[in-house]
Symmetry: D3
Subunit: 242 residues, 6 copies
């Protein structure tokens, strides 16, 4: 098996750290690192729901993703300065929101809204997967906050499962787990997989960057991702003290 | 096997029509229908490339997707009036562009730019897959235009394969091909699959709308999609007179 | 009399076709052609009026005009991408709205709103006049829909007259009716005239593109326009089956 | 003949004043009043032309119209605050530009650009016609500035004629000249007419606000407008000291 | 003491004129000149307050500052055309609003809103200080209008003091009062001071444009500003006929 | 002397920490804390200058300030989502830029550009002063990077001094240093003072939030600020290892 630039094996995650409660202001938060990729995830809990959902007895969970201008190797203009949000930002924000909603029972959440903000402080590949993985921790913490503050019933179970995400890709013909930026740009196929704690799929997004991929390659990538998700799920439980 | 609302079987496409050259103005065009979904795809061929690509001997292919305000059952505000493009529009435009670039040899295309515009005139589910399938036809026509007008070499082969797309989903536990709108809103899992003429994957985007999905369900959906793509590929060849 | 590039005489319209009910989704619709100019007009009927009109017992009719990016000979950037609507688009949208409101009795319409969307699929001169002429058909169809669905009284007469529009211009000193694009760019004077079915004026917009024009020229142009409007009015009645 | 609210006769202009050179900063300027309507017109002369016109030996004249937020009886939000320019503003800016270009020989102007800014300080009807009439004076002054500063040839004649504009309308069935705001809102038909110093038409824009109008009414309005333009033309010459 | 370019002494204001009630439309207005700097200030009084302030028994005063495109020596693009308000405009609008609110007792004002629009017609340095000084006069006039029209109690005292502003700066080492544009661009330090009629500070904004400044220089500048404010306060009283 | 909520004395700074080089990507960076206020400052060094400065042998330093949506106690909408930057953000960005340029010799910097991004990760009052103080450290580090990489001469001295900033205010009549958020909202007068390492002023911005302030109060605040700046300057030197 090929040894990668940073010494990892093909099926090995980078060093993962999750610091729950990093923010003193938010109801839930996590500073998560996938190697050099660092994302600050905060959960803002508010009682009540958007107008279009009022009176249905359901809650709402949504997410926004963004990158600091100098999170990357060269500086990008701020989207606030450009006056519009780019397609990539939109796409990732929507992905994070869908991924989290897949493990939320909005009835059990009650008429409460949780907004997850995932701000990339430093980027080295896999920012969207780190964001999903960290946002789950912030979400879980904020739900406990809601329970302690009486907005969620004592016995309600708003989280039906946990959720994490990891990237996989094919580089020089070999499937690899959790790509760093230098690997990501070289990958022929790039896939982001969102997996529940019980090992089912929430999202599978595979893209042929170079040549199209066949069924065998797809299967090999999914195997790697499911394996990585087992580890990420464990790191989440540890961070949450479960 | 369940009979669907419109009488189709689970593995059956809707009626597909592709009218090549619908537009008198564009270098390539196709009006494509997937049942009641109608998308007008035009290809605008221009000699030269964006500044960031100049002098590299490569061409560029990109796409923009949009929907007329009353393509849907109730009217949506125009994005031009709102002053910003929504996340869904961005996401689909990017998907169409990536899908087409996957079958383009930009060196063989030479320093030419082709912009695909996919405007949904009527929407009944599957607009993005119809757009990709129709845009390929417009692209192929515009490449022939480029060849006839001397912008592309006589023996150059800018298209390495064909490409089409189809949606699949699980409804009431059963995998189904090419979802109409009424099916799409009920689907537990929804997947868009972009497949080359030779049956390889360009994009696989599966989303759990309700419950997460497992490996078996994923496999069943991919089987359906690959089957549908064989038919779509044939319709494309017929439309192009190949 | 000069024979024109397309063989028409100076006082002759291009081939006019009006396909009522082209859209399966809208309450009213028409695909109209003035020669190669094709405009898809849809009417969206909604019960209720904007807040500023509430409780006055009156309805509201408004219009939006737009062009697909490749409706024209070379591609134009989308206004949604530019993030702002151009002056020409605004101007034409307002003209269409005013023209239709001139034949609507808003009291008889009741507290209902009709939005006309006029999207140019292919442009070869006269897009605004085709839009007005087609929008009237969509409007009339949507009013019948409103009546059938109980939103408009059985004996109410919301339409006081019909309305159509046509362009006229002076080319090489000669007044001509219904200019195609190649004629429009050469016209010294260009006029759009909106006329009711009974032959009165709703809008007269004449512009000296080259030299100013005198009273005789103005009169000759108005004569041509009024003649053309008689024919357009007949095509509208035929399309509506009246 | 009816006596109007302000004591004028039907064919009488309001008090017109034109103060040439009001601005100490601009190359040309005029503060013009049509009764209580006050518009500050400035002409900004710059050597050179926009990129798309470079090297053609022609100049460029364009205009921008705007209204101070409290020019009117109740305050309007600033278009800069709303982040977009309204349709009415666009429409009038374009009208002013076209009207002035109709009397400019751009070859004689040489490769120079003149931007006319027409800012309404106080509005009481007829702001666009006052703007055109005043902008002509600012334009003429700036052309003399260009000549004195060596950017325009000593014998060049960039202005082929003068141009002014006036509104006319039908109120209670009677045609009237130069409508004040209280008249404008009551007018059944409203027309803005742009006329050269030699009495030819540059623009004729008539709109039925209430009932459509017939040929006789149109003719009566044009007669009034041509009469008013003779006076405006004289006021312009006096302001310019000709 | 140095004699300045325009013959003034270091501690001398330019010619100040304040024309109360310049606008026929607004509830309060003043056209103010500081030398060649001319600012039109209007106060728009409306009964009621923004939603966030409703029911608190307090009024609201806010301000917007803007410059005509050709107020300055060379033309600036309109912020409405650019689609966004620049930082400088925002900053000055906020400064004017804060300065006026410092002398308003919002309880005594009652639930009324006053918007001050300060539009620079001609700019020659000190536009923000002229705007504050003139806006106070418009504000005072509009409060009297509110009292006369029954929106403010007969004995209420909404204005706790008057307020004016002046710029000071150090040029060639010498502190000077009320800088004209040619002085402003040469100033090493530039300070805007907002002072009440009783001589206390509302805002002190000092900026080192070139070298940093020390405590002695700061003190000398404040002395000058306080002296100038005494005169401005007197001009305001005269304009208001007090 | 009053003991403050957090136990500090009136003239005492909060705990200050400065972590130089926090970011692995930027040429200079510092994570700075003023108590619970945390700002990530990065310096992006690029060879070359904006077009308007080209060929003048001078460099350029500019800054952008922003706040994460949940840096504060309740969530704020992102400015990128709102599509426009607020006045406060603009104002602070400009302040940071001016403050840093006051200690930069742009000739010695050469034709290089340094952009300082100051992103508030957690806000508890004094974010702009923390940003200036931390940005100086990032700036100094990036200049050393430029020197080591040959873009700045070996003996060039682009920094003429250091610069830091601190807030001061009057609470219940007593002047206090370095206000935390709970103090800031209660302050009658609020002042931000930017001071060089040698104790001179770069910016003095004092605002009466409640009652206007007199000369004695101003002097007391300046004394406090100058004292605090001495400490901040020392922390900066320590962080830079000087």
């Amino acid at each position: 098996m090929t040894i990668r630039a940073d010494g990892r094996q093909a099926d090995q995650l980078r060093t993962i750290t999750i610091e729950k409660g990093w923010s003193a202001q938010a109801e839930g938060s996590a500073l998560i690192s996938f190697g050099s990729t660092k994302v600050l995830c905060t959960a803002s809990f508010t009682n009540g729901v958007p107008r279009w959902l009022t009176g249905k007895g359901k809650g709402w969970v949504t997410a926004e993703y963004a990158m600091l201008p100098r999170a990357t190797n060269s500086r990008n203009d701020r989207e606030s300065v450009k006056g519009r949000i780019g397609g990539r930002t939109h796409e990732i924000s929507r992905l994070i929101g869908r991924s989290l909603r897949a493990v939320v029972d909005t009835k059990a959440l009650g008429e409460n809204t949780i907004v997850l903000d995932c701000d990339v402080l430093q980027a080295d590949g896999g920012t969207r997967t780190a964001a999903i993985t960290g946002a789950y921790v912030a979400l879980a913490q904020s739900i406990e906050w809601g329970r302690e503050n009486g907005f969620i019933g004592k016995k309600a179970v708003p989280l039906t499962d946990s959720v994490s995400a990891v990237s996989v890709g094919i580089i020089d013909g070999e499937p690899m787990l959790d790509l760093a930026y230098v690997e990501d740009v070289r990958a022929e196929t790039d896939m982001n997989v969102v997996v529940t704690g019980t090992g089912e799929f929430v999202e599978v997004q595979g893209t042929a960057e170079g040549a199209p991929f066949d069924r065998d390659e797809l299967n090999a990538l999914l195997d790697l991702a499911v394996g990585g998700a087992v580890d990420l799920s464990r790191f989440q439980r540890e961070a949450l003290g479960l």
